[in-house]
Symmetry: C2
Subunit: 342 residues, 2 copies
């Protein structure tokens, strides 16, 4: 059997880890490196992972500098995996993928956000679109030369129902096979994938945390300990919880009920975070705040905008999230202008 061919678009921390796992499983990975092509060509990446070990100057099977080169390199890929930052207010996923849209029938989105699959499903209605929520503590340092990774790596994966299908319709046999094969590959490479019965519910669970903590941290220019310590906790937590409750009320209007997305997810998210950062804990900054401080475009469209578009379509009131979103968009306009000048 030929090795599976996989194209990974976006070679940051997530792209590197999953390229590594998939190659270890025997796949041939073509990595589209956008800003870090030169570094990868000359140096590769030093992987320093508590889970996977140390690999100096590691490179996947093939490194290319653009989606065009990746589309020229192969007639077809078994999977196209998206690990780039999702910024539809700058470029939609179909715009990023360009000619790669015609090079596969299976797309895997390992990205933050709600509704991130919709653009792609509109562009390639017959393809299988699956997505994953990654729980991973990895960062790229040293100008892209080194990947630091702790002990944690977990990827909750599932297939998105096709556009127009009822939310809990059974998946096609093609979709099922594509998901199972991808999960098996990750397992074979030492990864820790989990098949989600309902990927939408899994994504909403993750957005609860982001909408609450990432939003507050960013607009308050605050690390998690800043938010979670006393005495700040007494005035921050009601707002964090308010953001989260609005997320759940939108999900409810979309048909995710208590078994899909328990109200207790809010307490869980808050309690876990308070237990990690409430007394001591490192000065962790959510990635939205990291982008904010660097004045780089933030993933606000997929993290909050996606929730609010569903809220508007179902006429759910979201005064807190709408306030935060408008303020974030005000900053985002500046960051987008700046990124266009750069």
């Amino acid at each position: 059997m030929d090795p599976p061919k996989i194209c990974i678009v976006g070679f940051g921390a997530l792209g590197t880890i999953y390229s590594f796992i998939l190659e270890k499983a025997g796949a041939q990975v073509t990595a589209v490196c956008r800003s870090n092509y030169q570094t990868m060509q000359e140096h590769g990446v030093d992987i320093q992972s508590q889970k996977f070990g140390v690999y100096l100057g590691w490179r996947p099977h093939r490194v290319v500098d653009s989606v065009d080169s990746a589309a020229l390199a192969e007639d077809s890929y078994d999977y196209i995996v998206c690990t780039f930052k999702c910024l539809p207010d700058i470029q939609t996923t179909p715009q990023v993928l360009g000619p790669l849209l015609a090079r596969s029938r299976s797309f895997v989105l390992i990205q933050n956000g709600i509704g991130i699959e919709l653009d792609l499903q509109h562009a390639v209605p017959s393809a299988v679109v699956m997505s994953g929520c990654a729980w991973i503590d990895a960062t790229v340092v040293d100008q892209g030369r080194t990947l630091r990774h702790g002990p944690l790596e977990r990827l909750v994966l599932g297939v998105h129902s096709p556009l127009g299908a009822p939310p809990k319709a059974p998946h096609s046999s093609e979709a099922h096979a594509a998901l199972t094969a991808f999960v098996d590959l990750l397992k074979g490479g030492g990864g820790t994938p989990e098949q989600a019965m309902d990927i939408a519910a899994a994504r909403w669970k993750k957005i609860i945390w982001n909408a609450g903590f990432s939003t507050f941290a960013t607009l308050g220019d605050a690390t998690l300990p800043d938010i979670c310590h006393e005495p700040a906790r007494s005035f921050t937590m009601p707002v964090v919880r308010g953001f989260m409750e609005e997320v759940v009320s939108v999900a409810r209007a979309l048909g995710l009920d208590e078994p899909d997305l328990p109200m207790a997810s809010i307490d869980e998210a808050i309690d876990l975070t308070l237990s990690e950062y409430g007394v001591a804990g490192p000065p962790y900054k959510p990635s939205m705040l990291v982008d904010f401080l660097a004045e780089r475009p933030m993933e606000i469209e997929v993290i909050i905008g996606g929730v609010l578009r569903y809220a508007a379509s179902k006429q759910v009131s979201t005064p807190r999230l709408s306030t935060a979103y408008a303020l974030l968009r005000m900053h985002q306009s500046r960051f987008i202008q700046k990124s266009k000048k750069a």
Copy 2:
């Protein structure tokens, strides 16, 4: 008749203008200069006012460096006028005034905010407390040496009902006399005072603008044109209006009805601002944003905190303002820490 003796605490733009007007009317002003005592002693202030003219090296009757010196200088003042920034989360007004509390029966607060009179009324229950909303385009530049003032100066003045009195109770004859005499003084000095029938309503009218625009500008790090221009206007105005509507709903719960505070005040505030900044207009920054950018404590307690304390006491829901307030407090904690280190 002896000239009226007036002590002005806080000698920024407002303190300077009103010292000047009151001295022109024949009063003897003792100015408490806190950070700018040295400058005032050595140089005075160059007043460059479109309304009042140019006066180089101007000084009031007496300049002192502290409230203690002001309290030693006179046994009693006809009025004590507060023109300092109102930061009760650092120091309450009675704490700022200290020994001056016993030096007058009439206090005039020319400051932003809602509920700013309460601390003082608790500290000196038998005194007359009046306050003014200043509409004025003045700034101090050149390290406190120069006051720039445009053509605008209007001060809406009124007496606050004593603690525990019904909101629209008639004022005592002492209060009435104190207000009238102060208004006459300002007129005599070329100022433009207006007696408000209901100072509370006048203050709520001003807080509508601040709660809407100052809050959004500060948390969005945006000038008024940034907020008012297309295309931003389409996503900023609903939130600005939402802040304002919450302010009005709190005022309603306190008994200010449509004739006191017309709902149309919101449209007026928005339309006026859009007409000034919607197409062109200078890159104006509200003072809260100026403080924010300089990482100095902001007047959030009196501008938003005051509204929210009334909201809590009347159980009015304020999801947008509460969100903004918590985010501002997060920043404020940093600024207060910084100001204590300085």
